[in-house]
Amino acid sequence: MIRSKGRKRLLTAVALASGLTLLATGCGSSGDDGDQGTASKGDGVLTVWAGSQTPIVANFNPYAPTVLHAALGGVYETLFYYNKASAEAPTPMLGESFEFNEDGTELTVKIREGVTWNDGKPFTAEDVVWSFSNETSKPEYLASAEVVDPTTVKLTFTGPQFTNEFALLGASWMVPQHVWKDVPDPVTFANEAPVGTGPYTVASTSDASYTMAANADYWGGAPAVEKVQYLGIDANTSAESLLKTGKVDWAGMFVADPDGLTADGRLGYINTPQDPTVLYTCANVEAGCAGAQTDVAVRQALNVAIDRGVINEKAFVGLAGEISPTFALLGRDDKWISPDVEKVSPQEANAAEAGKILEAAGYTKGGDGIYEKDGKKVELTLTSVEGWSDYNAAAELIAAQAKAAGIGVTASTVTWDEFSDSRQTGSFELIMGGVVGTSVADPFQIYRDWFSGEYTQPVGTQLESGEWNFSRYSNPTVDAAVNAAAATNDEAAKKDAYATIQTEITRDLPYIPLVINATQTFFDQKDFTGWPTEDNLYAFPPSWGSVSAGVVLSTIKPAE
């Protein structure tokens, strides 16, 4: 034991030393960082959050599921750019023009000349052929891809592929054959120094961020923003704080109070609702569904009993958009909506009409206010994923609104695993979930993937990859119309087919439409100009869009 006097002195000395060290490092660092508001990030560097979380692992392989955001659009490009937010024609990128043959089994594409990969080698038609026909990316329906001449490529298919125009021209990444033919396993390849045609190249990566540098030889002209740094952030609240304090310049995320962030004028804001939120119902008795929701009258009654205005205001903070029961995106897809069906889902509750629908179908109101038929009450379970607070709140509101109309709905939350499992196997009554919005101004993909009887399985069997028809809905009229629409590029014929489909689905309601989910984007309009705004929506704005992010990055400039 140290003598008490010596110990006292030692303790004091240690305390002083550690205190001074902490003070020194604290003061020293803050001195370096300077003004927390704007410096501590180099001028002219665009700081982006696209949703990555730490630790960031360098993976710029466009075929890998864990690819980093900047690779898609920033480094690799597609032949054309399809603007998700508008109905305009696709913008030529690496392709200049394209043409289908009469029956859609051949697609001829003219490619842009004078493009080079970022390692200096020229971009050729052989690269395009390789990008379509290599093992990892080759679609099932592709019969062959061949070079017709140095600027033309012809793709031949096994059947008409009009409806896969976007998948081929807007979502297939152009990769260099001279790099990829020597890669032993394209899926596990980390591709840390990616060779692409895009406006940016990879400058550095760390576990907390990665930085992209402008590609001076980009075919569209060297981008004006020299460096773009993508951060890894784990919590949405942190991202909000960083946006507020000026550390992040571009982010697409849900913020309940956007006015709080835009108050000081640095941040611009745009909301481009895209993806429908619906109630999946297990609708088909023949496929094995059970429950009161298998009766179309119950679904129709529920549809009019819901108060979408209140749900938007209370659960989605007023940021969601109105939905059309035709699943065509209002505004963008208006031309495809048949005049014979309801264009917009009712925004107010109508309990009386719900009652009428049920009574016409033979239901009678019981003593407790809930309708019943043959002794069975109309009682349904509604699940939503725990933690998705907007959905959870909406589910509670629906339960209350349904009860007022005489339908018993019990809302509960489940884990994501249970949610996924139940919708894949069809063992559910009602689930609140999303529908994947289409990337083109055409609702076909939703009709085929979500309503077609060929894209589903009986209850108890998991859906296969690419099948999204959780409701098990199977209607021969719809299936025939879907097939007819797939085989033609004639607008009038497609409108006819869609009109048939819309008549069926707005009556049968296998998915009860609720709202269109908000897609919010915040961007630094003070330090950078050229962002997509409501007046000039040249690209889908969020930082996590793939091809669209590349288009935005090559368009914005530092402010003068």
Partner: protein, 331 residues
Amino acid sequence: MKYYARRLTFYVITLWAAISLNFFIPRLMPGNAEDIFRAKMARKGELTPAMEKSIQLLFGSDDQSSLWDQYLRYWNNLLHGDLGTSITKFPAPVSELIGQALPWTIVLVGLATVLSFVIGISLGAWVGWRRGTWVDGVIPASTLLQSVPYFWLALILIAVFSVNLAWFPIIGGYDTFMFPDGPVPTWEFFSSAVYHGFLPALTIVLSSVGGWLLGMRNMMVSTLSEDYITTAEAKGLRPFRILTTYATRNAALPSLAGFSVSLGFVVAGSIVMEQVFTYPGVGKLMINAVQDKDFALMQGVFLVITVTVLAANFLMDLLYGFIDPRARHNG
């Protein structure tokens, strides 16, 4: 000698059982890893057909060999230091991910735990010594801090000190703008790391010091009623000497045992702290792995935690035998 030999055997057997359990438990969990992965990707952005294919390829190579073969292969890989490849952080090897995260966790959380223990014990000793005076008011204050949900405390501190006053950074283990290439062994990096670690460490200390304080104070009060304390006072020893050399040394023994356990769990990281501060560490590896059914990463993290807790327990057992003669003779 026999005491130590017996403890050693016990720990070796526990280690074997823990590692085997580590192998079996993830395989008993429900949920299809591939679906979760696919949906996670679809939520992040658009899922191209090429990605779908690569997801299938990634998971499609599902092991058809028997459980026993997998188990043996697991042990073989373990002894070669190969913990597998992470699915969610593809294609980083698990050992690399853990190796990157572990130093941050050990330094920050370890330091914070030690600090919180030292502060808690000293304050608890003082509060127990001065029982019956105004000092007793410290206890409800510290237990209040302890019972406040950790993330709430962290968010309040961030809102006040990082966002409004801008005294501390909002996220990160180090300044990503100054060091875009990652950690470098320079003095600037070290000072940046200390600066970024201050607020997370503060929140850990604030939220856990109450527990140590309360435990120590109670032990102190009961120790002070012992006869040898009365004897020491009667013999005229200075109060400070009695407090430190006689009372605290004996009262701290149970807390030390608890401390060893919490030291072992330091490597589990502090999940909420890492989430709120986007701080690099082992906790977020674990939570992501569990949520996304990343078996290799899950097993790797659990292994590290298990081995460290066992090692810490073992060391503490030895230490206990050394510092407390009663355990040595009776154990």
